[in-house]
């Protein structure tokens, strides 16, 4: 960034912008954790996610910004609100009392002896100073890894470096990561079904909005999937946008009709992971290393894997939003 604009005024402006952004992040984070009322904490947390995405944009990391925006704005906020709704529905008792003076120290709801409190503060100060000192003394990092990435870029079949690293060079990480996602869903389902919240029929406006917005979301998800190979985008971003579309569907009260909930749903969920593993295993039989995509066909292969991954990530995220096994309800 700095290289492009030589004007001192410009760097000053950037510095100003960054300090404000940094301060806003810290202040928002602190308020989100310190606010007495739970709902206010969640709203602040959603705003924190938005600011985080802007920071990623500022740090010249478009892929990360896309992922953070899609997952943070789309899914985490909605998930937190639904959980809060379920928790609130359980106990009507305490309404958050505004305790002004205690809020600063966040100790209003914790019975802490001052001794252990001070002791804790000492540890935290130690941690912070250690971290800051370590970070500042980091000498110039050797960039041979980055040179390596750009050198083998063209043989990876994808031109966007981040997607190349994610799917080809460190494909094994992504494989494990997709299994983590699937595992989370399995865990949630293993907790058993959830009490069905009484759904009021969506109003006309909501219907109209969802009819317009959801197809658009799906198109955008496809767009991200396609653009992933040469510009920031890719399987995870596309998958999370698809997940957000699914969340919107579920919010509107749409339920998967019975025919789909059994085996077909499970197959879709496992589809992404299955394609990834089978592609890798098939390659072994062709005499290659575990996940070595032949450069000629690498691009197409990666796209195939990404498409399958986007589909199953989207469906998994939407199913996660349900926080429980989908109950069988006739499609209205």
């Amino acid at each position: 960034m700095e290289a492009m604009t030589s004007l001192p005024l410009m760097t000053l402006m950037q510095l100003l912008f960054d300090t404000l952004l940094g301060f806003a992040l810290l202040w928002l984070g602190w308020r989100a954790l310190a606010s007495p009322d739970l709902f206010q904490a969640i709203v602040l947390f959603i705003a924190f996610g938005l600011l985080m995405a802007i920071v990623w944009v500022r740090l010249d990391a478009p892929d990360v910004a896309l992922a953070e925006a899609a997952i943070g704005a789309g899914l985490t906020g909605a998930l937190l609100l639904t959980t809060l709704a379920r928790l609130e529905a359980k106990n009507r008792s305490k309404s958050a009392l505004e305790k002004k003076h205690k809020v600063w120290l966040m100790t209003e709801n914790v019975k802490l002896k001052t001794a252990s409190f001070l002791w804790l503060m000492v540890i935290l100060m130690l941690l912070v100073s250690g971290l800051v000192y370590a970070v500042l003394t980091l000498q110039e990092q050797t960039f041979e890894l980055q040179m390596l990435v750009s050198k083998n870029l063209e043989s990876s079949g994808v031109s966007n470096p981040v997607t190349a690293v994610l799917l080809n060079f460190r494909g094994y990480d992504t494989l494990l990561e997709m299994s983590v996602l699937l595992l989370a869903l399995l865990g949630v389902w293993s907790f058993g079904g959830i009490p069905k919240p009484h759904e009021s029929l969506p109003g006309p406006v909501l219907n109209m909005l969802s009819r317009l917005l959801i197809p658009l979301l799906i198109i955008v998800a496809g767009y991200f999937l396609w653009v992933g190979s040469d510009a920031p985008g890719g399987a995870f971003q596309g998958g999370s946008v698809l997940g957000a579309a699914g969340v919107l569907l579920l919010l509107v009260g749409w339920r998967l009709c019975i025919r789909f909930v059994g085996l077909p749903l499970r197959i879709i969920l496992v589809f992404g992971l299955g394609v990834f593993v089978s592609a890798a295993v098939v390659l072994i039989f062709l005499g290659r290393q575990f996940m070595e995509y032949p450069p000629s066909v690498a691009g197409a292969l990666i796209l195939l894997i990404e498409a399958a991954a986007t589909l199953s990530i989207g469906i998994t995220l939407a199913a996660l939003f349900l926080v429980g096994r989908p109950e069988f309800r006739r499609h209205k």
């Binding site: 370590a134 970070v135 083998n152 094994y172 399995l186 499970r266």
Partner: protein, 465 residues
């Protein structure tokens, strides 16, 4: 990794896959024994760019123990989960989660890339939490929640350490890092972070509060897994990092770990004595046995490492057998309060035999694997002239003996109130017994695993002994 199970498969395939993985591990074992440490670059890229799988003596041994224990648990849980005791819908989910856990363990033992280790740790943590929560009881859920939070906290610490290391050296691969490493403030802080993260997950003394509750409330096969393998996985990573990456001249740090280990032994032992429920007793004994593993750090000599590793292996086998025995008793009597064991010996001869044999290995009586491990540690302690370690090792053994005999004593007596008993499928008793016998046999065939340990890089370095 091959044991990814599609959610809709159930028990039958579970066993099939279990057998398949054991065969794969055996094949790998043979390969490593023949050709020395194996390095396998995934995706055909070099070490710094791609991720490498690295199988040396250390990881091979862990894989073998992992395979044996997991096979036992699979057979055991076929019996455990088909009883009316467990609602059918819950039992289905045991198998896929369990397969994920096993795959995570396999991946973890093989990987040689620190970020990859982070992902496997996370995979391991989530599946373990889901399994603990499977029991569905109020305390099971609360302890699962606490375990999840502790897990996430530990992994975040670890990730921060990885970030610092990466930005300092530009590479994530352990072998490359070990060549570049030189003590600088960033490395010290990274080391501190990663150590605290991993110790949190290994439940060393000050950070062990989550372990007893999680182990006691989880279903028997799951708690067997937790204490035998999951806790050891993070110890394995810690050991691998400590030997290869962290600057070795940190003896003051080793001393601290040794002291913590010693406290863990005493505290775990005393707590175990005070427990009324069998599962809590076994959980606290795990805390104590973990202390032993950390005793090796102050000495950091060749024998010390081998001793600690041997205890790790024998403890894994013995503790699984113990938890299975506890599971059987729980099934049989419907409760596991130690006072009310009546005629357990008469009704379940095999289970109590398994419990006794496993107890011998935990205590470290002569024929068992535990004894070999303790003997090696003792030898190392005497060589390095740290006498206080010798006392601790012996004291730990006595404490273990105390709480084992307490349980066995009650097993023979007649309890005051009688209550209905249920037949326990014979499979479950046999697996417990076989594993207990394996723990004993481990002692008899000691030279063979000790030889395997030498293949790996970490030990040959300091063969000073």
């Amino acid at each position: 990794m091959l044991s990814f199970l599609l959610p809709q498969r159930v028990k039958l395939l579970g066993l099939l896959i279990a057998a398949g993985v054991v065969a794969a591990v055996a094949a790998l074992g043979w390969q490593v024994a023949e050709l020395g440490a194996q390095r396998y670059a995934i995706g055909g890229w070099g070490a710094p760019l791609g991720i490498d799988l690295y199988a040396d003596g250390l990881s091979l041994l862990m894989l073998m123990v992992n395979a044996v224990v997991c096979l036992g648990v699979s057979v055991y849980s076929t019996g455990y989960f088909n009883r009316a005791y467990f609602r059918r819908s819950r039992a289905i989910y045991f198998w896929p989660l369990w397969m994920f856990l096993w795959a995570a363990l396999n991946a973890l033992f093989l990987s040689s890339d620190i970020f990859n280790l982070y992902v496997t740790l996370e995979l391991l943590g989530l599946s373990a939490v889901a399994l603990v929560a499977l029991a569905g009881g109020a305390d099971a859920l609360t302890s699962a929640m606490r375990y999840l939070l502790i897990n996430l906290l530990g992994s975040l610490f670890y990730l921060l350490g990885v970030a610092l290391l990466y930005h300092r050296f530009g590479s994530l691969d352990i072998t490359i890092l070990s060549q570049h490493i030189e003590p600088s403030p960033a490395v010290w802080v990274a080391m501190g972070l990663m150590t605290s993260g991993l110790l949190l997950k290994t439940a060393l003394f000050p950070m062990h509060f989550w372990l007893p509750a999680a182990h006691a409330s989880a279903p028997a096969p799951v708690s067997a897994l937790l204490s035998a393998l999951v806790v050891k996985a993070s110890f394995y990573i810690f050991l691998r990092l400590w030997l290869e990456i962290f600057p070795v001249d940190s003896s003051v740090f080793g001393e601290l770990l040794g002291v913590l280990g010693a406290i863990a032994i005493f505290w775990g032992g005393v707590q175990a004595l005070r427990q009324t429920r069998l599962k809590m007793l076994i959980a606290y004994s795990t805390v104590a046995q973990l202390g032993y593993l950390f005793l090796a750090f102050p000495m950091a000599s060749y024998f010390a490492w081998k001793g600690a590793l041997f205890i790790l292996l024998s403890h894994a086998l013995a503790k699984t057998a113990m938890f299975m025995a506890a599971g059987n008793i729980l099934h049989f009597g419907g409760h596991d309060r130690i006072q009310d064991f009546d005629h357990v010996v008469q009704y379940q001869p095999l289970t109590s035999a398994a419990f006794a044999l496993a107890g011998i290995s935990i205590m470290g009586l002569p024929p068992s694997g535990g004894f070999i491990g303790k003997w090696l540690l003792l030898e190392a302690a005497i060589n390095s002239g740290q006498w206080w370690l010798v006392i601790i090792i012996i004291m730990g053994g006595l404490l273990a003996a105390a709480y084992i005999f307490k349980v066995i004593g009650y097993a023979f007596t007649q309890s005051r109130k009688s209550h209905q008993t249920r037949r326990v499928p014979i499979r479950m008793e046999w697996t417990a017994l076989i594993l207990a016998i394996a723990a004993i046999l481990l002692g008899l065939i000691a030279p063979w695993p000790l030889a395997i340990m030498d293949i790996g890089l970490p030990f040959s370095g300091e063969a000073a002994g």
